[in-house]
């Protein structure tokens, strides 16, 4: 039932209203609203009950194993969430004087420093509000760099075919054309294609490493030389940073600029779609272009850096300083891990991924890159099962839900047919992974014995398989009272 269907004219949760004031207002009638917006009129109990019940229809990390590849669904520490709700942080206005914001600014500054350390970069701005905005900022900095040098003919960004959709979309949003290059059968980028692609038109290349295929691009140093030689810069998509945290640094690989997904690697909650955090980190050359504001420390006090300090900045990306509460949470998580904990993230994320891969392989599943080590994630392809048993990756994914596991990422990267991208993260135990593998094995058996069970899955959720085509064709995007 929709909340609107519970609404009763003139019902209200008055204890939440401010007291009524009978004085007149001097606003001309033409500027006033005449009708009431369609908001529900319900009691506080009805609201609490409705949304509590709705929440129970979700899968989440707190209730299920959620091996969604590329999304790093690790445990989101509750302590961190709770501490972000301290009144001093929660009721603090973003435009307070610096002298009244030292607490928050010290956190911001520390996170900048920590991210410099883990990325091997020279400058960090925390303002981008998610990975994609970080990408935008990064590419905009690449552009600003070339323009500052009068190198204005560069109008192309190179993107591997395995890249996440935000990479080309971000490049375009910065006014670039996108050139795609193919991946080889081993999961590495085709070096010939790269060499052929670069040229005086190349502004830069966007990569992740390990790539979205779950394998480490071994010739990264060579690639960086190729691109740099051509005058381009290298962008690192930090969505996969969890795989290498404390083990390898993008700065050392030759990248000039990158973003970090705080909501992945730094364990801030995904919130059913967001918020995220997409700080950008840059090498020496791009430091002047970092988006503002940033925090600097001068003699024990913190101060916001703005356009006056950073005349070459690409500018602001948000009204204030980005997702402040996410910055706080990420900093707290980093402080909990500390130097000893940081590299364990990559180690155990990798251990978990390789463990599932090994077990699935033994059970008869086909890895997309069988010759490769898994990074923190890996791909299996159900191409063969699709052909022989007429079931799809989608069917397997939906059936997994019945077993109480969230499905892996499906059909991404696009170049691998019928693929599932599986990322367990470091916070799951061997026992959970074993149960997941058991479910996969059982589903494979079901695919043989009773494929309809898969095709009509899920069976145990609040709804059965939903008609997405109808949704897109007969748009029903808002409720209308009848």
């Amino acid at each position: 039932m929709l909340i609107f269907e519970q609404s009763q004219k003139n019902r209200s949760a008055t204890v939440q209203y401010p007291r009524a004031i009978s004085q007149k207002m001097d606003i001309p009638k033409a500027l006033l609203r005449q009708d009431e917006p369609l908001l529900p009129e319900v009691s506080e109990l009805e609201v609490v009950r409705h949304y509590t019940r709705l929440s129970r229809k979700n899968f989440s990390i707190d209730t299920q194993f959620y091996p969604l590849g590329s999304c790093t669904m690790k445990y989101n520490p509750r302590g961190v969430h709770r501490l972000a709700f301290l009144e001093g942080f929660l009721n603090h206005h973003p435009l307070s004087l610096d002298s009244q914001s030292q607490g928050f600014m010290s956190c911001t500054y520390e996170l900048q420093e920590i991210l410099k350390a883990v990325t091997g970069m020279k400058g960090v701005s925390l303002t981008p509000m998610a990975g994609a905005q970080g990408e935008f900022a990064g590419v905009a900095m690449i552009r600003a760099y070339h323009q500052a040098r009068g190198d204005v003919a560069r109008d192309e960004i190179i993107v591997p075919d395995a890249a996440h959709g935000t990479n080309p979309a971000s490049a375009v949003q910065c006014g670039y054309k996108v050139k795609e290059i193919p991946t080889g059968a081993d999961g590495n980028i085709n070096m010939e294609a790269l060499r052929a692609a670069v040229g005086p038109q190349t502004a830069g290349i966007m990569l992740t490493n390990p790539s979205t295929l779950g394998v480490f691009e071994q010739k990264i140093k060579e690639m960086s030389e190729i691109v740099h030689k051509a005058g381009g810069l290298l962008y690192y998509d930090g969505a996969n940073l969890n795989a290498i945290l404390g083990k390898v640094r993008p700065g050392d690989m030759g990248f000039d600029v990158m973003h970090i997904n705080l909501h992945k690697t730094f364990a801030t909650p995904h919130g059913g779609g967001g918020p995220g955090g997409g700080p950008v980190a840059v090498g020496e050359r791009l430091v002047p272009y970092l988006p503002i504001p940033m925090v600097t420390k001068q003699g024990g006090t913190y101060r916001w850096l703005t356009e006056e300090d950073c005349p070459d900045t690409i500018g602001r990306l948000s009204a204030f300083m980005g997702n402040g509460g996410i910055i706080l949470r990420a900093l707290m998580y980093a402080r909990l891990l500390g130097k000893q904990g940081m590299h364990r993230v990559a180690e155990f994320a990798t251990l978990n991924a390789n463990y599932i891969l090994a077990k699935l392989r033994t059970a008869g599943f086909t890895p997309a890159y069988p010759t490769r080590r898994a990074s923190h994630e890996f791909i299996i392809t159900l191409k063969q099962e699709a052909k022989e048993l007429h079931i799809t990756a989608l069917d397997v994914a939906k059936r997994l839900l019945d077993y109480g596991f969230h499905a892996p990422t499906m059909y991404f990267p696009l170049l691998v047919p019928e693929c599932l991208l599986i990322e367990p993260t470091e916070t799951e135990s061997k026992q959970v992974l074993d149960r997941f593998v058991d479910a996969m094995v059982q589903i494979l058996q079901e695919a043989k014995d009773n494929p309809d069970l898969l095709r009509s899955a899920p069976h145990t959720l609040p709804v059965k398989r939903l008609d997405e085509v109808k949704a897109a064709r007969e748009l029903d995007l808002v409720y209308r009272a009848c």
Binding site: I3, F4, Y17, I21, M25, L31, P37, E41, T52, N58, F59, S60, L68, K74, V80, G88, N91, S96, Q102, G103, K122, M129, E135, H164, F216, H270, G272, G273, E284, L290, C310, L317, S318, A319, F320, M321, G322, M332, L336, L337, K339, G341, H343, R344, E347, L351, N354, A358, K359, H406, T409, F412, T427, K430, L461, V463, L466, A471, L477, V478
Partner: protein, 471 residues
């Protein structure tokens, strides 16, 4: 090992299943010369107990007694139920609802949100959120340029009564695509955009932005502005305070045919100030341009039994499908804040929301009347306003704010840098959270501060030039 559950035995068993001797071997594809051994710059790990103590100390530094700053982020009463329910693990730790059947909670909530927000804007559809108000305005402009079928103009008109940071963000984002941004000056008497000024700006434009209330808290003549803009073939983008729309005419009702797009900052609807974020941007539009709307959109459909259910829809607009041709690069949005807002709007309902808007109005107007009695303090603009206003002080604003800070009062936002033409301009806000007592306290302390503040504009910050010193 914080948050890592593996026992020694687990590790041994897992390594042997994989067939390697030690964890380090799993990184054998990574060139050895790239590997690092330690991260000396990172501090020692803390326990949660230690962290809690540290954070308490820091948070305490930022506590103030009374805050009269608005300027795009507003202090409101947020019912406890809002975040109690929003913080449930099932909302907090879910991902974007790609697996619809396992995400009906989030999806139905978003559908309800879209309904509420579209209705609040008097428009047909809403997306499921963008990052914040400023970036939403940038997206709205990009959308308008794509959607405007009447003109090929790449010219955008933005009044200077739009939040300076919003204009800045628009420049950063929209500027990359060669779109021309023209700023419209304001009438120095009313602090609003007038037809008289616009006359000089006539000509085709892709879009015209109308803030309501504007940055100064003043109310724009939205009907006239909308009709004027439509005459220039521009699409009209309202950038509005959503809470105020319970009281003020909503964008979809502006002028003859209504604004085409509405966007803004969702923070006033149940999102705490939180030092500046996470907030969320909302974006609504008329039905005919929905395919240009960026961001997630939820649609209602049915399952194989014909039972109602919800899915992400129109995904062909999005980066994960359309890649370089997507309407936007946005992926992760601000879902959790929308969750809070939806619960907030449900609790308040149409009447509660309006009551809050009225209370804000009255608090601000009480403040206005009372500060006016202080010798030398003037209200900068005439004309109707909502819950914010610009004061002109007889002393340098920054000095006065520093004085007020001594009483733990955040006195407002200095406009010295952003609007130097308003001499000693101070933007002040009062919402429903401010009692008459608070307002009296403000007025009294402002008097004292004005007495104590020096006449010289002090507080000049030493700037760093990034090129020279690095961040």
């Amino acid at each position: 090992m914080p948050f890592i559950p593996h026992t020694e035995k687990d590790i041994k068993d897992m390594l042997s299943t994989i067939g390697v001797a030690k964890i380090e071997d799993l990184f054998d594809e990574i060139p050895a010369n790239l590997r690092i051994k330690e991260l000396p710059a990172i501090p020692e790990g803390l326990t949660e107990m230690e962290l809690a103590r540290l954070m308490r100390e820091r948070a305490e530094q930022d506590l103030s007694a009374l805050c009269f700053i608005g300027a795009g982020a507003y202090e409101h009463h947020i019912p406890a139920a809002v975040w109690e329910v929003t913080s449930r693990g099932e909302f907090l730790t879910a991902y974007t609802p790609y697996q619809a059947e396992a995400s009906q909670g989030t999806l139905q909530l978003l559908y309800e949100y879209q309904t509420m927000m579209a209705s609040l804007m008097a428009l047909d559809v809403s997306n499921a959120s963008l990052y914040d108000g400023a970036s939403a305005l940038a997206e709205a402009i990009l959308m308008a340029v794509r959607a405007n079928r009447q003109t090929k103009s790449q010219r955008i008109l933005i009044p200077q009564t739009v939040h300076p940071h919003y204009r800045h963000v628009v420049k950063t984002i929209v500027g990359q695509q060669g779109i021309e941004i023209v700023e419209v000056p304001f009438d120095p008497k009313t602090g609003t955009t007038t037809l008289a000024i616009l006359q000089k700006m006539a000509g085709e434009a892709a879009a015209f932005v109308i803030p309501q209330p504007n940055f100064f808290g003043a109310l724009e003549d939205v009907d006239a502005l909308t009709d004027w803009a439509h005459q220039q073939k521009a699409l009209v983008i309202g950038v509005v305070n959503p809470l105020a729309m319970s009281l003020l005419k909503a964008p979809g009702e502006w002028g003859q045919t209504g604004a085409d797009i509405a966007c803004g900052e969702g923070q006033p609807l149940g999102v705490p100030l939180a030092s500046g974020g996470p907030y969320y941007g909302f974006l609504c539009c008329k039905k005919d341009i929905v395919r240009q709307l960026p961001g997630r959109i939820v649609g209602r459909t049915v399952d194989t039994d014909g039972k109602q259910g919800f899915v992400l829809t129109l995904q062909a607009r999005e980066q994960h499908i359309r890649r370089a041709k997507a309407t936007s690069n946005i992926c992760t949005n601000q879902g959790l804040l929308v969750t809070a807002s939806t619960i907030y709007m449900s609790l308040m309902g149409p009447k509660g929301l309006k009551r809050i808007a009225e209370a804000c109005y009255h608090a601000a107007h009480e403040l206005r009347e009372k500060v006016k009695t202080i010798p030398g303090v003037e209200v900068a603009f005439t004309g109707p306003s909502f819950h914010e206003m610009v004061l002109r002080l007889p002393k340098p604003v920054d000095a006065v704010l520093d004085e007020l800070a001594k009483y733990r009062i955040q006195g407002g936002l200095s406009l010295q840098k952003t609007y130097p033409q308003i001499e000693n301009g101070l933007l002040v806000c009062a919402t429903e959270t401010k009692t008459s007592q608070d307002i009296n306290e403000y007025v009294e302390k402002l008097k004292l501060a004005l007495n104590h503040a020096s006449h010289a504009s002090h507080n000049e910050k030493k700037t760093v030039t990034i090129k020279a010193e690095g961040v």
